[in-house]
Amino acid sequence: MKTIYLTMVLVALSLVSTAQVKVGDNAPDFKLLNTDGEMVALSDYNKEDGVILVFTCNHCPYAKLYEQRIIDLNKKYKSKKYPVVAINPNDSVAYKVDGYSYMVDKQYDFPYLLDNKGIFSEYGATKTPHIFLLKNSGDQFEVAYIGAIDDNPQDASEVKEKYLELAIQSLMEGKTPKYTSTKAIGCSIKPFK
């Protein structure tokens, strides 16, 4: 009886604690609609070494500044078992161009998922773009890095430190990244209600 009670309490607690993930935490799973009409889940990537999870959108000028850099990241790291998975957490009520058909128009060569389930809040993403680098730790994905792609949003040619790539390199070498979290400017998320 006591065990049942304790189990109930633990289950209740786990339901309540939808706090933001920290570096080292397990990455929340998701199953969201991709632009090809199929559902994509984090667990689909169990054979990869990691996932570059990018919360982004169409309308935000900062997301636009990083669009090409995100495409390039996938080109460079997909074959190295760190593919990009992009998630748009915005409801098109706020910005029409964040709607599904406009996501399809992007024709990205990586999944671009519509988050109408509030996955962004499970991760604690607050803005677009917002990066979560996930490491495959065997039976789970673990959050290894949170923050910015690099140190110069406005001018890609002036970038000195590529925070995200440095973190990926470290993981590939089995080391702890020099930076595990960085701060970036972005547009606040306009979620589905």
Binding site: P153, K183, S188
Partner: protein, 161 residues
């Protein structure tokens, strides 16, 4: 007669230039140095950009004339995170069009990771965001504010002293 005309023209251009909105360029350290916490001035520092719709929407609440009814002396600083290439083409025309008379600072920083924490460690970097300074007290709010909420926050920081 001709001279009188030129004097009028000169005065007119002077009056017009008073209305032209100036944008002060500061880096994050200079911005923080401009906050005088030894005075009894309440500083309301709002981070925004013309490309950020919720920021533009809430901008009218940062009217120092209106806010000085709640407390005086008050200093409003609107810190623009517009792109460098758009200061002249977007920011300045926007200020003129909206007739914004508050102090506007364009933040001369390239790497957010170097300065976001200096404003507030709890800030994720999403805008709008509003920081207040009053004597040795500080408050921070990430996200949109309403006029009433801003007034509440002002009362709160004043009451902390």
């Amino acid at each position: 007669m001709k001279t009188a005309f030129f004097i009028i023209l000169f005065n007119l251009s002077f009056v017009l230039s008073l209305h032209a909105q100036e944008v002060t360029v500061l880096n994050s350290n200079q911005l923080l140095e401009s906050v005088d916490t030894s005075s009894d001035t309440l500083y309301v520092v709002n981070f925004w950009a013309t490309w950020c719709a919720p920021c533009v929407e809430e901008l009218p609440i940062f009217n120092s004339k209106e806010l000085s009814k709640a407390y005086k002396p008050i200093k409003v600083v609107l810190v623009s995170l517009d792109f460098k290439t758009q200061i002249d083409s977007k920011l300045k025309p926007f200020l003129q069009k909206k007739d914004i008379t508050e102090k506007v600072v364009w933040l001369n920083e390239s790497n957010p990771n170097n300065w976001v924490d200096k404003i507030d460690p709890s800030w994720s970097g999403a805008i709008p965001a509003t920081k207040m300074y009053y004597k040795n007290q500080q408050t921070f709010h990430e996200g949109e504010l309403t006029h009433d909420k801003l007034k509440e926050k002002i009362q709160f920081i004043l009451s902390m002293n």
